[in-house]
Amino acid sequence: MTTVEAQETTLQKGFVGQSVPRKEDRRLVEGQGVFFDDVKRHGMGYLHFVRSPYPHARILSIDVSAALELPGVYGTLTGDEVAILTDPFFQIAAEPGGSIKDYALAVGKVRYVGEPVAAVVAESRELARDAAELVMVDYEPLDVLVDARKALEPDAPVLHEECGGNMTYEGRWEWGDVDAAFDAADHVVKISELHFDRFNSTPLELDGALVEYNRGTTQWTITTNNQFPGFAVIMMAPAMRVGTDKLRMVTQDIGGGFGNKITSHPQLVACCLLARKLNRPIQWTEWRTDFHQSMSHGNERWFLDTEVAVTADGTMTAFRTKALDDAGAYLRYEPLGGVIWAQVAPGMYGWRNIRLDFTQVLTNKAPCSPNRGYSRMQHLWFTERIVDIVAQELGFDRVELRKKNFVQPDQMPYETPNGCVYDSGDYPASLDLVLELIGYETIEQRREEAAARGKLLGLGIGSTLDSGTNNFGQSQLINPELQFSGNNEVATVKLDIFGEVVVTLGTTPQGQSHETTAAQVVADVLGCDVDLVHVRAGHDSYWNSHAGFSGTYASQFAVTGLGAVKGAAEMLAEQMKTLASMVFQCPVEAIELADGFARLADNHEAALPFMALGAIPNANNAGFPIDPPPMNARFVYRPPFDVPDKERKFGKLTLTYAMQIHACVVEVDPETGVYELVDYAAVDDCGVRVNPKIVEGQVMGATAHAIGAAMFESFTYDEDGNLLTPNFYDYHVPHTLDMPPLKTGAVESPSPFTSLGTKGMGEGGGGGIHAISAALQDALRAAGAPIVTDSHNPYHRVFELLRHPERARAKVEVTPPSLQAGRPSGGE
């Protein structure tokens, strides 16, 4: 493994910019982390969900009596009770998707295999599972809809009758003069069908909670691993007909999230209802099969009838396409995927004319939720596919085509056709760096060497953006009635009685090292050692350090979280200086914070330790003529956003744009389609890196997820609606032996829009998926030159491309036809 720094880091002295050791690690390597499933309460009951074996069926009756008779069973909950005790969850969608009635348990109908229809609580995990098998559910099976492309056919089975069909959202997104650009184009490349596959990042820790109900205060305490408590309580409280203050959300350590743990609110409501009904703590831990069948797959998306306008010199001037998004059986966080992609509408390129008709439909599959790279990854795979297919079919060099069409460094900050602003970056230089790391100069020689061994070698590039810090006002572009906009995160920093520096946050980290990086920022502001800063682990509503958007999702902590931390630390620093000036009876400006003291800048002997400052307001405050500052600061970070223009679908949808360019080399066995990643390089630019080692760790993790999605991981359903990959046997995630050699490189283009010059990062843009698609297409040029039209390319799909390249070639057409250069270059 090799790491390359593209340039000197831009940062000042201090802890920010250093790879400070992680504060989280001591407890985690000693087995002393506290994950929700580690928490126990006296008398708690274990919950097990009864789940549907049918993808689509009417529920005729549910009989829980046999389960209740089993000794040790505490009680049950069914959909009928839920429909009485709660209201349907608030829907983000306007009509028709807004009509969907979604509850904590299935009411009247089931719509996917694994949907919870009842819950059983018993004294042990084993007994709860046994009892769940005694619940008798009578179903009347209905016709099944699996293929999104058939969802709008007149005779398609309808999932939610109240929607009047299976379409939940449709909208035309158009900027520039698309038709004029096509009229002026020298070439038009048409791609009939591209498909981004269904998968998710399968965090190792499963969803769950320990839920307690306090009958006196009528408040629930929910110890959980939900990663977006701000969203969860907004969904849960109205449905439960209580105020959000009745839902105390608590997390400590979370075993991975990747967006998949955003939409556990239905199950949490079921736990809450049972905690109240049975008057005992409810423990729910999902099983792996439950998770694969029911918890929040990534959005599957088709791109149909795509056309790309290209001028003779290789300038890509326009594209138009129809995006068909498969949301599964319920909307939950959807249809936000219908707008999130627009954060990166032109990818990294200078396209000024874009038309995308977005349609989202329901199918009898698990509901979707954000998955690392949410909705932008699908779209960036699409733009990268366009670039490589255009290059191949029109005979352009794909590196030069990228460099020619990239947004250029002298254009930064760059406003896209839809009003987003790419804040900084040097895309061509970053491409050069990754090509150097992958050994692009020698690729043709390596191709020949591989051919001599009977292998097809190919190189692929995936250039992507990781847009971060959402403007939630973009939700109004899909539903103008919504009252969400902007973003926020909260931090408190205080000095306690003995001078302890204590930080709380509203975030819910799942490995992103917030305790460490927050301490780095605070230490620099307060002029103390990083080891003196204590950052509370996790989230607790009782800390009063959260707001409506609190959580850890969507690549934003380095902007929102650390922005809040820096703001609170600066407020505390001001209070400390003010208090010291009161003690020394000098102007505030005469005080500096350094080496763990508040001292006179010109006389370091006159110095107050943090302990003295903490003690005064907390325990020793007599004799001050005016109140001493409280040594306690709370800051709400708010990024500078306006509500986007709903008519034009125009505005700043996110604040920062981190960038990744991945490159890989594959070797394909032409007889079998089996291929191996033999080389891999990833360059990342996320502005100022607070902790380079932690940044690199995130780059590696995103790379691994992309490799898994490209090669192994798929939530595949059969035509009867059964998930074929419901566990880690059938759903293969990368193991140690699957990982290629990796080189990483870093570029730092500070963001002009953030207080630390940082950009949100961590999701990556799925660069590895794009790079592997491109590498396979490159390798197969010598075998009939099929284009790669799927994001997921297991060996059998490559075998199919090798056997029938003409089937893939039939999906691409160039006008005028004489210009098509993508003809096969090798023997068929």
Binding site: E30, D37, R125, E696
Partner: protein, 159 residues
């Protein structure tokens, strides 16, 4: 002659040097016995199929997936869990995991440490390929494994 199967068994077991005696349901998995009965929650659960390795512990010195062993099977045995690795101070492998950023969320880490500790006991200076083979039964979803492999190799190289 009919035989009534036992629904619970008496188990004596030594865990991290401490002796426990418990009546356990016959079907209780070792991982649930450790986590729920002994409150040793450092050992984690990530799947239902013996695929992920988060529950790896040492059973009489041999790494096993404790989700695939019944508590009743460990009668008379000696078990080490992640909580038993560090004495007064952490082991070189634990320190190396932190130094190499070989963990993010930390959920797979106990299993990784137990598998890698067993490898290093058998083979104090493994090659990269040997490390990859030894850890192929442990899934990590955060790191992509590169830093984990480096952390294990570094312990071997420092011997």
């Amino acid at each position: 002659m009919s035989v009534t199967p036992a629904t619970s068994l008496f188990v004596q077991v030594t865990v991290n040097g401490e002796r426990y005696e418990r009546e356990v349901p016959a079907r209780r998995l070792l991982v649930h016995f450790l986590r729920d009965d002994l409150d040793l929650t450092g050992t984690h659960i990530g799947c239902d199929t013996g695929s992920c390795g988060a529950c790896t512990v040492h059973l009489d010195g041999v790494p096993v997936k404790s989700c695939s062993v019944l508590a009743a099977q460990v009668d008379g045995a000696s078990i080490t869990t992640v909580e038993g690795l560090a004495g007064d101070e952490q082991t070189p492998l634990q320190r190396s995991f932190a130094e190499h950023h070989a963990l993010q969320c930390g959920y797979c880490t106990p299993g990784m440490l137990m598998s890698a500790t067993a490898l290093l006991e058998q083979n104090p200076t493994p090659t990269e390929d040997e490390v990859r083979v030894a850890l192929q039964g442990n899934i990590c979803r955060c790191t992509g494994y590169w830093n984990i492999i480096e952390a294990v190799l570094a312990v071997g190289q420092n011997r």
